[in-house]
């Protein structure tokens, strides 16, 4: 193929001095050519730059399975480079692939995290403002319907009853929005698993209904308590369930189960029990070699995914003294969320507020 030259044993694009880090690969993963910037980047990540050299098997496999135009993040497994290599592949005719690469430093990743957090906070403030603005007129409707019913002796009026029902639904929605908006300074609360999944499944009911998906919840004990920022804990399971429903276009069956297990070590949660909640779906699953990568920031296989859902979920679970892992499964995905069981005894000292 034209446009490439071999120089000093390295495969260069003819326009090798342009600033973009681009490489051309054969469909077999062999390096055909690369710009000067790409060669430098490949070297930095200790990847081969000789013509016809092949990429490491793991990287090649990830690239092969990533949709065209979608970035993957690759970290060299045996070096401590404080950065990851972002690679996006594009089709180049029928025989070749164009690989656009860039180095993503820890600082850039940290900046992306902060930007994401800022966006969440801005969204929270906006939602909060809208909810506040809606609350007063809604309260006026509720109160005046109450008065109307009382003063006109229309207690049995179906019309008034319907107005009240609709207003109460709006009231609950606004309360939910305000809860959601309080993502900023975290307030730790204790909640039961039963209540937690009632809220999570309620929030996602329309999603499951629209996609024809099935959700079954079989908790070992509804009354087991966990503690932390309620919204963040909900977000862990919300993200896992959304991931499950988006794992394929057709119907997905999701099963949630739980069990308790002993926890070792002394920690701030003052409990020796963990609850393990498993979110198991029958989707396509995750290949063995990508099990850890799914928790990386910006890792996604979805065209409109942010690649942050599982990262955020794992960080939240860890922040609350637990963790999130992807367990081996014969079918689909099985994510296991571990959270400390919060003692129900009022005589125990309160746990520290979770971050």
């Amino acid at each position: 193929m034209t446009g490439f030259v071999e120089r000093n044993g390295e495969a260069f694009l003819r326009f090798g001095d342009i600033g973009l880090a681009m490489a051309v690969l054969g469909t077999d993963g062999a390096l055909v050519g690369a710009t000067h910037a790409a060669v430098q980047l490949l070297r930095r990540f200790q990847l081969p730059v000789e013509p016809q050299a092949t990429l490491p098997a793991k990287l090649a496999k990830e690239l092969a399975s990533a949709p065209l135009g979608e970035a993957i993040m690759w970290r060299h497994p045996s070096t401590d480079i404080g950065a990851v290599l972002g690679c996006t592949r594009y089709s180049l005719g029928t025989d070749h692939l164009l690989l656009v690469m860039r180095e993503i430093t820890e600082q850039q990743r940290a900046l992306a995290r902060r930007l994401h957090q800022q966006r969440l906070e801005s969204t929270g403030r906006l939602i909060s403002q809208i909810a506040h603005d809606l609350r007063a007129p809604l309260a006026s409707i509720i109160y005046n319907v109450d008065l109307l019913r009382e003063e006109t002796h229309l207690a049995s009026s179906e019309l008034l009853h319907d107005v009240t029902l609709a207003a109460n639904t709006l009231r609950d929605t606004i309360a939910g929005l305000l809860d959601f908006a309080r993502l900023g300074p975290p307030a730790a609360t204790t909640q039961t698993l039963g209540k937690l999944f009632e809220r999570v499944s309620g929030l996602l009911r329309p999603t499951f209904r629209a996609g024809g998906h099935e959700l079954s919840i079989a908790l070992h004990d509804d009354s087991v308590c966990v503690r932390g920022n309620a919204i963040a804990i909900e977000q862990i399971f919300h993200n896992l369930l959304v991931n499950a429903t988006e794992s394929r276009r057709t119907k997905v069956r999701v099963r949630i189960t739980s069990e308790e297990t002993a926890m070792s070590g002394v920690h701030r949660w003052r409990t020796d029990r963990l609850v393990i909640v498993r979110v198991h779906d029958d989707g396509p699953g995750v290949p063995e070699d990508r099990r850890e990568a799914v928790f990386d920031e910006f890792y996604t296989t979805k065209p409109d995914g942010t690649g942050l859902g599982l990262t955020v979920a794992r960080e939240a679970a860890i922040a609350f003294g637990g963790g999130l892992t992807l367990e081996p499964s014969d079918t689909g995905c099985c994510f296991a969320v571990a959270l400390p069981v919060y003692p129900r005894s009022p005589t125990l000292p309160p746990a520290e507020d979770a971050p």
Partner: protein, 114 residues
Amino acid sequence: MGPSLLLVEREHALRFAIRRFFEARRVAVEVCTPADAAAFAEHRFDAVILDYCRDDDAAARALVAACRAVNPAIVVVLLADGEVADFPADAVRKKPLPLDELARVLGIGVEVGA
């Protein structure tokens, strides 16, 4: 003579509705906005309903302290958008609270004329 209630609420429509509801239950109701509440601080009330906003936290605490100084048994109900930490209230409820529930929280008979 029935119980007396101070209602501190920003919204005119809510002041109107809550006042009317409680007056129908023979409660003597004084209404004001948070900005005007200080004028009632030295009056004696059996209960106060306070539309709480974090921005007015200091003023709300001062008002409750003043009301309690006049009547230590006063019932203080906070209507807030969410959880309120360490506020010296007898009850904190999310807004909007249905009127009959509000009456129950205050311990005032729900039926008209009770």
